[in-house]
């Protein structure tokens, strides 16, 4: 499976210093819980994105730990305070160690 490309949306591209910027992100992923059984009665092994981190210009502004109770194609929405311009990097980490990375940017006026 190729790494899915996350969809990221910032509510503004440019912000004044101190403004609150809202980030919405969606990534395709099965988020298999490890609770389900396949037709032949075998447990389908757990495979989820268990960690999400967002950095702005290299500094972490928000992160989350996901459990299997997070829905498939996990959606996350959060905010950060604009202090400096730079890349907004979103990283999801799979149970198997694979990283899904998405990037946007913010310009602080």
């Amino acid at each position: 499976m190729s790494t899915p490309k996350p969809r990221i949306k910032l509510d503004k591209k440019e912000a004044k210093k101190g403004d609150i910027v809202e980030v919405k992100a969606l990534v395709s992923h099965v988020m298999e819980t490890g609770q389900r059984k396949s037709a032949d009665g075998k447990v389908i092994p757990r495979k989820i994105l268990n960690k999400f981190t967002c950095t702005v210009n290299g500094k972490e502004v928000f992160s989350a730990d996901f459990e299997p109770a997070v829905s498939a194609n996990p959606y996350i929405q959060f905010k950060f305070k604009a202090t400096e311009s730079g890349p907004v990097v979103l990283t999801w980490i799979d149970d198997d160690g694979t990283k899904i990375v998405g990037e946007d940017s913010i310009k602080v006026l």
């Binding site: 609150i20 819980t33 609770q35 389900r36 059984k37 702005v56 500094k59 972490e60 502004v61 928000f62 992160s63 989350a64 730990d65 996901f66 459990e67 299997p68 109770a69 997070v70 829905s71 498939a72 996990p74 959606y75 996350i76 929405q77 959060f78 905010k79 950060f80 305070k81 202090t83």
Partner: protein, 152 residues
């Protein structure tokens, strides 16, 4: 050493077990079925969280338990001196109580996060927030689920 258990002792042990079960049910709420208590204690380190400051936004009735939108907001100035560090979201009716943990810092600006979660059936959602000075706040909300979200 041999241990002989007489019929009288057996009866006594049985009665004690029944009494314990009855007592247990009266003290422990319905959600003791999963590891919610364990996880919340691990999160707070045994401290009892105070009701308030945390706002849980969830639908009252969720038609599809596979994707239930949830917003957690914590009332906090989010300054270097006073901010919310972590928020844990727990569900008392899922096979595992853990749902998600959000980590904030003063750069977050607002302690608010929104995601979509799976709920197996009608149950209570609990959010516990931890501030930088080690205080705990909590909120709880019941969600009625029409179709469960754990693969039927």
């Amino acid at each position: 050493m041999t241990i002989s258990i007489t019929r009288r002792q057996t009866l006594f042990v049985g009665a004690a077990a029944i009494a314990a079960t009855a007592l247990g049910q009266s003290i422990v709420p319905a959600y003791a079925a999963n590891n919610l208590d364990e996880l919340s204690k691990a999160f707070t380190g045994g401290a009892a969280p105070v009701e308030g400051k945390v706002k849980l936004d969830l639908p009252e009735i969720a038609e599809n338990g596979n994707t239930v939108p949830i917003t957690v907001t914590v009332d906090s100035p989010m300054t270097d001196a006073d901010y919310v560090k972590e928020v844990i979201v727990l569900a008392d009716g899922n096979p595992n109580a853990g749902v998600a943990t959000f980590h904030f810092n003063p750069a977050s600006g607002v302690a608010e996060a929104n995601t979509r979660i799976r709920l197996a059936n009608t149950q209570n959602i609990v959010a516990i927030a931890k501030t930088n000075d080690g205080k705990f706040y909590t909120a709880k909300k019941q969600v009625k689920v029409t179709i469960g979200g754990c693969g039927g």
